[in-house]
Amino acid sequence: MKKWALTILLLAGCAPEHDGTVILETADPDAVQLDGKHDGFAEKIKKEADSIETIYDTAVIKGKDQLLVAYKVRHLDRFNMKEIEKDLDKRIQEMESTEEVVVSSDYKIFLEAVRLKEDMEAGHLTEEEANKRLSEIIKLKEEMA
């Protein structure tokens, strides 16, 4: 009986999450633009980041003067985290971005970016509030251990 209970408990862990932000699975959220423009620049950045082989999931949020790119790196490639960050940062700078660019592989930042996007889609936030939340996420990223 105990064995069955344990098996059921372990299998329950395999159930899919509903918010699409599971740890290992790909969430692949659409890029969000909060600057009022509809030039598809955030989407371009997302495509560029996705083209890097070692990255498997990207969340891009473009605010009024800030651009956040959160990404997940394949497990074994996490040894080259700094090189990947440098490469991504360079590629974005080459796209003539004038905003303050923040790239992060931190899971929390990714999670918060997806939550912001979902709240925007659900209509819980105005553009101004979303920009404020974006600044808070970037502030969180800059906090050191």
Binding site: L111, L140, E143, M144
Partner: protein, 143 residues
């Protein structure tokens, strides 16, 4: 009989140590402790404002506190007997070392017994931890 000869003689009759079995037990138990630690850190990331950069401290504090409680309840000692290094090497082993020494010496008084002996085992961990951190910081600042 010389001590060396006695050792040789005794080793003939000693039962063989199940090294492979012990290694497998240590591997699985140590891995399980790490999985729990990973789950705790994801919990802090998911529900609180901790990033991967900052989540280390609360996770370590929680794991040490958990192992201290389990030592007090007598569960961690059994785990230690079963897994050996698998339960001693992760950070939970530190909590176990502190509390087991405190429990052992509580009959000698609160100050000289518990206070004086609490870090008898864990003291070396703190000392070498601080010393190696100092060396690493020194290397990092030079290069």
């Amino acid at each position: 009989m010389k001590p060396e000869n006695y050792k040789k003689l005794a080793s003939k009759y000693e039962p063989k140590k199940p090294v492979l079995k012990n290694c497998i037990r240590a591997f699985w138990t140590g891995g399980l402790v790490c999985i729990i630690g990973q789950a705790v850190s994801y919990f802090f990331i998911f529900f609180f404002n901790f990033t991967e950069q900052t989540v280390g401290n609360p996770t370590v504090a929680f794991m040490i506190f958990l192992s201290m409680l389990l030592t007090g309840f007598g569960v961690y000692d059994r785990l230690g007997q079963f897994a050996g290094a698998g339960s001693a090497v992760p950070v939970t082993g530190f909590g176990n070392a502190v509390i087991s020494a405190a429990i052992e010496h509580r009959s000698e008084g609160f100050v000289l017994g518990v206070g004086g002996n609490m870090f008898k085992l864990a003291g070396s961990v703190i000392l070498f931890g601080v010393f190696s951190a100092f060396i690493v910081a020194l290397i990092k600042s030079v290069f």
